[in-house]
Structures are given as structure tokens and as C-alpha cells.
Point group: none
Chain length 208, copies 4
């Protein structure tokens, strides 16, 4: 029984396409993905995909944009969550949301983080930009939650810490894949812990 409908409104089809594309691009390099496989997975044909998303690069860009925005939104919502307990740590909440996204949306994360690291290919430009925006978001999170802790070079230090946090989260997420017995929540705690620990060690060091 095919559940995929014929004749869907554009908005829905477009999302299905991006869903399929995220999966495809997470599985292999940009160049190893064939547009046809995306079309089939989305229950349509190549021409429709081109009609909506313009080009293979357009497909990729749409993926990166949608998933990047989702991740950033997830972090922000967690940080500003009005239901959070009063004494709760916003940095912890933000990092938790971040790690939850990274582990719970492997495919999105792979596209965002891994596929951006290619030089000189036009399709990588958007990915690279989005990668930076994500890094900045985490950096801002750290900055805004640790005022004063970092000393003079706040922004720069926060950026480096953000990179470390992100790559650590990535390593943890990878680890989870091979070790399903571990609890993601515990892992999330550790990412936050490590970040805090780095922060504390910065207090004594004049510069990293």
C-alpha cells in the first residue's frame, strides 16, 4: 500500500523532497547522491524536484537551511524556555538541546557538519555559512551564560570553546552509534560538564 499521495500541494511536496534529500546527503558525498534517488524517495519525479528546488545545489541548500534553522531554533527555545525552573542553568539547557538535536537528528547533523567541509565547491558555500551560524549560536550561548568568566578575549575564547563543544558533541554522538547501551542524556550531561570544566580552567589561564 503506497501511502504517498499523488497531487500534493507544493508546500508539502517540498518538505518531503527535503526530507528525502537530507537522508540522501547524509549517506554520502554531495556528488554521490543522484537527484533521481531523491525524487523517488520523495514519491515524485525528477522534473518536479527541479521545478521546486531549481537544481541539485538548490536541493542541498534547502536542506542545509532548513536543518540549520531547526537546530538554531531548538537551542533558542531551550534557552528561553519559560517553563524552565528558576534556578536552572540556561547554558546546560542550551547544550542539552544542542546535543539532543545532534544525536536525535543524525542525518541533519551530518549534512550540516560534515558536508560543509569541502573547498571550492559552490554547493558548500551555504553549508559553510550555516555551519558558522551554528557555531556562533553556541558561542553566543556560552558568552551570554558566563559573563566575566572568560576574561578579556571573551568573544574569541567563546568561539574556540564553541568549536570544542561542537566537535566533542559530534564525537559523543558518533560514539553513541556504536554503543547503544549509553544514555544520550548522560552524554548530554557530559558535554555540558566538559564545557564547564574548560570554562573553569580558563579562569586561571590568561589566554588559551
Amino acid at each position: 500500500m503506497k501511502t504517498t499521495q499523488r497531487r500534493l500541494p507544493r508546500r508539502i511536496r517540498e518538505q518531503q523532497m527535503i526530507d528525502a534529500a537530507v537522508t540522501a546527503f547524509s549517506r554520502g558525498d554531495y556528488h554521490s547522491v543522484r537527484v533521481e534517488e531523491i525524487a523517488e524517495a520523495a514519491g515524485t519525479s525528477k522534473p518536479t524536484v527541479y521545478h521546486y528546488l531549481g537544481s541539485k545545489e538548490g536541493i542541498f541548500t534547502a536542506c542545509v537551511r532548513r536543518e540549520g534553522e531547526r537546530l538554531i531554533a531548538a537551542i533558542r527555545e531551550a534557552v528561553h524556555d519559560p517553563r524552565a525552573a528558576a534556578g536552572d542553568d540556561p547554558l546546560r539547557r542550551g547544550m542539552h538541546a544542542f546535543f539532543t538535536f545532534v544525536t536525535g537528528n543524525r542525518e541533519s547533523w551530518t549534512v550540516l557538519y560534515r558536508r560543509a567541509a569541502v573547498q571550492g565547491e559552490p554547493f558548500a558555500a551555504e553549508a559553510s555559512r550555516m555551519r558558522d551560524r551554528v557555531m556562533d549560536e553556541v558561542g553566543d550561548l556560552i558568552t551570554s551564560c558566563t559573563g566575566g568568566l572568560l576574561g578579556e578575549h571573551d568573544t574569541k575564547d567563546a568561539q574556540l570553546l564553541a568549536r570544542i563543544a561542537v566537535s566533542t558533541a559530534d564525537a559523543f554522538a558518533d560514539w553513541l552509534l556504536d554503543h547503544p547501551e549509553e544514555s544520550p542524556d548522560a552524554m548530554a550531561g557530559h558535554v555540558t560538564e566538559l564545557t564547564w570544566s574548560h570554562l573553569r580552567s580558563r579562569r586561571t589561564a590568561t589566554a588559551l
Copy 2:
């Protein structure tokens, strides 16, 4: 005037080809690299490349193998360096060698670490194997240098720490690209520092 010689002995030509290929594969996906461009960069023609390395996959495999072995050898040599001072920390020396390789051989590292992260492509198998061997090497390094510190789950914990160390090193190396004012040596120290710090924090935690 071409400086590349005609009629070189096989071993030399092969190395030139692999040099060219590492550069090429570091610049973009496996699929975005054309065999012809490798041949040209190596100062030969396509048929010769095929004669020596067999296929595109063979070229890639040769790259991964050579660079992987070089990295592993570099770590081992540093750890067992007979010229090292008596009180010197072997873990520190090993991590330093590792980080030195990662930053000093960007192209090799990119091929080794980034191009391996693709599923379902035959060419990725060797890379994935080599990636694991590198992780294991770092894991062994940690294990052998911290006997007792990690508690019961020594090996497993060491592996996780190795992953974090490697991904952190990768993040630092990236950071260096955007911040040339930082000293690679200082960064190397920090990678080691962070690893140690994680190790210490493990002593108190019941399980990661």
C-alpha cells in the same frame, strides 16, 4: 619548461602520484576528483596511473594507507623516542606528535579523517579501517600511559577519550586555519591538557 622528469623509476612515480592524489582528495569529495587531474599533477598520463595504481579506488586506498601509516608511525616514534628526557610524559609526546601531524599535514589529515565518513561506498572501507586504526592508536596511547587511572572499563573509556581527543584536535586544527596568530605548539599543549583533564574527571565519575 616541465620540471617533472620523464622515465622515472616506478617507486618514485608512484609516490608522486600519491602526493598529487592526496592533495586532490583533500580538496573535495572522492567523486569530485578526476583521475586525469591526478595524472596531470603527477606529471604523467592517465594510463600510467592506472598501470600503477589499478583504479580510482586503488588510488584513494593508496593515499589512505600511506598517510595513515605515516601518522601512526609518527606517534609511535614520538612515544618511544630514545632521545626523550627521562621524566618526560610519553602521553604528552604522543599527543604532541599527533597534533603536529594533524596541523602540519592538513591534506593527509583531511583525507584520513573527513573522507572516511561516508557510508555504503566501497572506496570508504579502507579509509574507515584506517580511521579506526588511528583511533585505536590514540586509544592505546592513552591506555598505556594511564594504567589504573581509568578504572575497570579501561579500554572502552580510553576509546571514548581517544575519539574526543581526535575530534578536539581536528577542531583546533581548523581553528588554527582561521587564526594564524595562534601557535600550533600551544594548541598541541592544550589538546593534551584537555585530555588529561578529562582523565582526571573520570577518576571520580562512576561511569562515563
Copy 3:
């Protein structure tokens, strides 16, 4: 704000479509024109265009037919113009009308004269037929206005002269594009002049 009206009577919409199509077909080959662009320029959608004109070939045919008839009608009206002065030369009037059309309706003329010169394409059949009808019209004009001047092979000679007149008019029209300082009227006079001059020279030549 779209100025094109929705829900127009069929005849009007059809004319708008043909207008748009003539413009489109004058700009490039038959094959370089997309039906969608015609639909858009006509303020409708593709299905409507198909509903009215049947197929791309149908669109092209409609253009050729309409513009061809317009040109022929223009010549005839000029020749038989009841308001023309008594001693006026009908050949001159006809040639003038012809040239006026050619320069004043560049797009129509381009479709009629240039797009017909393709072999083996079904869409060219109608254009070719219309091209011949136009030639014949000019040939008839010459024949009917110069009875006796041409000698025995009247019709054949008139046809050749018609071809020369037409291609000369085309050359003049092209020339006008690059030299806006020239007056179309003067050019029209010259086309007629040249035709007359050829006619006179035929009188003495035994055979062209």
C-alpha cells in the same frame, strides 16, 4: 499589478498569445522558445495555450499564418488603393507597402522569412508555404505591373526578380537597424528603384 485581464473572450486571448509567440519566435530558433514563456508573456498558463492552439507547432503555425496574411493583405490593399492618384505607379505602391511591412514589423518578418529556412522540420512546412506565397505575391505584383517588359519567360523571370527584391528588402531592413539615420521611406524608394532597374536591364538581356 497585472494589467492583463482574466477571463477574456477566446478570440482576444488567442491574439494575445500569437502576439507573444511572434515576439518569442523572432528572438530565437523555434527550438529555443519555451511554450511557458509564451504563456507568461500572454498572461495565461500553459494549459490554456494548449487548449487554444493545440501544440507548440500549432502556435508557430498560427503566427506564420496570421503575419503572412497581414503582409499579403497590406500589399494588396496598397496596390488596389482606390484613393491612390491616377498616374501613380501600382508597383511602386506595392513595393512600398511591402517594405513598410518588413521594416515596421521586424518580428513578423523575421518569423516569416528567417524561421522558414529550415529543412526537415515539420514545423517549417507551413512557414515555407507562406514564404512561397509571399514571394508569389511579389512576383504577381511585378508581372501584373510590367506586362510585356519581361519577354517570353514572364512568370519565371518575375519570380526571380521577386526573390531578389525580397532579399534586397531584407538587406535594407537589416541595414536600417544599424543606421537609424536613414529614412525608411528613402530605402523603400531604393528597393523599388533597384527592381525597376533590374527590369529594364532584362529587356536587353536574352535570358537571365
Copy 4:
């Protein structure tokens, strides 16, 4: 029996390709020609065509260039022919060579003269340039052979006359296709005759 050889030197294959392409482009619009048909007609495969000529546009450009140069060379050789009789008219010789080319190389002429008249397509740029060069060549021919006859606006007038001569030759050549009984030589004579007759009529007119 296939006469086409496998494994030909590049220079030869390239010429065969251009031969095939001229034929193909003369038969229909640029867009109606498929690269594969050119490859087949040249006894090769598409990739080889692309390897040598780069792109469809490159194929077209190569045709226009080669045939244009041939035509221009033919005119020049005829004009400067050292074997020509002393009292012979160079204009007549040049026009004869021109007309001989136009009728004897229908396909080349069609590509040069007809396929250039498309706006806004990149492939037409070279054709347009070559078309102009041919016109200029004929214009120069007229100028250099009629010093003083044209009055003050020599160059401009010569250009207009060149256009008329060319379009007339085109009309004659077309006519010959439908009337094989006519002698090309006689036609060539008429083209020259008409050009001279126009020239003479210019002597009295102050400006065309």
C-alpha cells in the same frame, strides 16, 4: 564497407567532425542539431567530439570560423590571382569567387549567413562576427575596385552595396537550387552586373 578509420590523428578527426557539423547545422537550427548525430556522422563518439571541440557551442564556433576563413581566403586569392589576365576586372574576379563559394558550398554558406541571425544566444556571437567580416571583405573589394566612383561616403556606401550584393547572391543561390537548368556562371555574371549597375547609378545620386 566502412571507410572511416578508427584511431585517426587528432587533426584529421577534428576536420571530419567539423565537416559533419557544418552539414548538420546547415540542415536545421542550432538547437535542432544533436551532438550525437554529429559524432556519428564523423565516425566517432560524443565524448571524443567533446574532448576536441569542448562543447556544442565550440563545435558551432569551429564551423563558422573554418568556413568563414575559407570564404574570405577564396575571395582574396581570386582578387590577387597572379595568373589573371592583365586587363581583367578584379571586382569581377572577386565577386565570381564569392558567388562560386556561395553556390558550391551551400552548407557552409547557410551556416555562415543564416544561422547568425539569432539574437541573444551566445552561440550566435561568433557567427555574427564572421558574418560581418565577410560583409566587410566584400565591402573592401568594392571600395578598392571602384575608387572615386562612390563619392564622399565611400565606405558606408560600399558597405550597403556589399550587403545588397551578398543578399542578391544568396537569392540567386537559392534560385539555383530550384532551377538546376540555370548556369552558376551566368548567375555569377549577373551578380557582378547588378553590383556594377548599382555602382553606376550611385555616380549620379548624391547619396543613396
